[in-house]
Amino acid sequence: MLDAGIFMQNAGKIYRNQNGDKCALRDITLSIRPGEYVGLMGMNGSGKSTLARLCNGLLVPTAGKVYVNGLDTRQAENLQEIRQLVGMVFQNPDNQLICPVVEEEIAFGLENLGLPLPEIRERTAWALEIMGLTALKQHAPHLLSGGQKQKVALASVLAMTPAYLVLDEPAAMLDPVSRRELLQHLQILNRREGMTIVLCSNEAEDFMDADRLLVIDQGSIYLQGTPPEIFVQGTELAAIGLAQPEFYRLRQRLADTGWPVAEINNLTDLVDLICQP
């Protein structure tokens, strides 16, 4: 268990409260390898947020084990190291920005790590640069747009140079343009910087760049495979309240009416086929 990666062994999570126990996750076994882009798709309440929080020890499993680069998340003394390894971006951009100025926000994690000032400056400047936020560094977060806030949140996590980036519905509160931009950033980080990415969402369109997709339902892994393998299973997805991406739905409908579309894997080719004279 000393390999690099996030490993879950029969991990389960039960929330206890006065209304009785609620099982959020049961018997999850999975591994996330360095450099992978993994999607977690599921409805609200499916357990994907719980799964995301298991990755950096914000929650610890009530059954089974979770290891990050060989570190057991149940051991409190590992937590600082685990959280430095696993950066986390949350859904609500307003509730994850802590400081009154963008620049300080990005330095927040670095200050916590006790880095010397020159290094804090250097890494802050780098993170601002990579997210295209340099012009906003003296701004107050509440004056930024939702998309900009979420970029600040991402930059402040990147400044800590995590090995894994876990994002819990980061685009849920964004407008379509900011959403696309954020996803583009993730793709670039994964392809160019080799960053491991775990993205949670209930929107199938968000996972077009993912290497692997896990569909979570009622606390268990319901389907897994590459996004194209999953997206063709329209009936299975609909059964748990999820929708196929538009492209797959269209291709399915065309195939049902006898069009030769089985070999076509992108929208441009599909358009070319339909528009043939």
Binding site: Q80, Q84, M88, I98, P100, V101, N112, V157
Partner: protein
């Protein structure tokens, strides 16, 4: 939220804006001490005029700030009336069991002036210092306390989170108010009871939302290894210049004068 709000930072480039926040905070502390230990009328009047001059020099809307004194008029009035009536001494008027005394009137005027000076002083501090600089200044001034093993950095984090969330909470309160109004809450009802009830309908959801927000914020802080750290980047921005020194010397001179006047006269 637009327009100038009382006590909120207004961007500017006056001498007062450029002063080190530490200088301004220490000056405010000096003023508090000075007007407590010496309450001769000319000394207090001098400070009141000094505050007016500071407001003028900072380029703030003088009429707006002085006009805002009206918002604390009931506090001023109650202070004055209570002191005038309750201080024992030589009676001036008698109204039944109530006696307005000569000493009472003097104390009333003195405390009225004190309150006005404190109010104007804090306005100058808040309206010429950005929250960022203010919290850097407070952080720095609290540093010595960390020697006593007090969790100073936690305190400054609390402070900076408050500064960060004040505008967010105001926006949310407005959103909730609009939501409640659209369901028929009467914020301008003629009856006070009805009005209070309407405001309660803002407070409760706002409180609940804040708890939720606090929980999520806690997760975000934990995820970034929060440990109660010194804020180096923020402190590094503080710049103590010659003019800060002159102003501090001037204020200390005033304080010394306040101590010496009662001894010498």
């Amino acid at each position: 939220m637009t327009g100038i709000k009382l006590g909120q930072y207004v961007h500017g480039n006056s001498l007062l804006h450029r002063l080190d926040p530490r200088t301004k905070i220490i000056c405010c502390a000096i003023i508090v001490v000075a007007i407590i230990i010496n309450y001769r009328w000319f000394y207090l009047l001098f400070f009141a005029l000094l505050m007016a001059a500071a407001i003028r020099a900072s380029g703030m809307d003088t009429r707006f700030v002085l006009g805002s004194l009206r918002s604390i008029r009931s506090l001023l009035l109650v202070t004055f009336v209570f002191l005038a009536v309750l201080t024992p001494g030589q009676p001036v008027w008698t109204l039944g069991i109530l006696q307005v005394t000569r000493e009472g009137l003097t104390m009333g005027v003195v405390n009225l002036l004190r309150l006005i000076i404190l109010y104007l002083g804090s306005m100058v501090l808040l309206m010429t210092t950005s929250p960022m600089k203010l919290s850097a200044g407070i952080d720095w001034l609290l540093l010595p306390l960390s020697r006593l093993k007090l969790p100073v950095h936690n305190f400054s984090t609390i402070l900076s989170i408050s500064f960060r969330f004040i505008p967010t909470l105001i926006d949310q309160a407005i959103a909730i108010q609009d939501a409640q109004r659209s369901r028929g809450a009467q914020f301008d009802a003629p009856r006070l009871g009805m009005r209070l009830k309407s405001y309660l309908a803002i407070l409760i959801p706002l409180f609940e939302a804040s708890l939720l927000r606090a929980e999520e914020l806690g997760e975000a802080m934990d995820s970034r290894c929060f440990s109660g750290h010194p804020n180096q980047l923020r402190m590094d921005r503080l710049q103590f210049q010659a003019v800060d020194l002159y102003i501090l010397i001037f204020m200390l001179g005033l304080l010394a004068a306040g101590i010496l006047i009662p001894i010498l006269l």
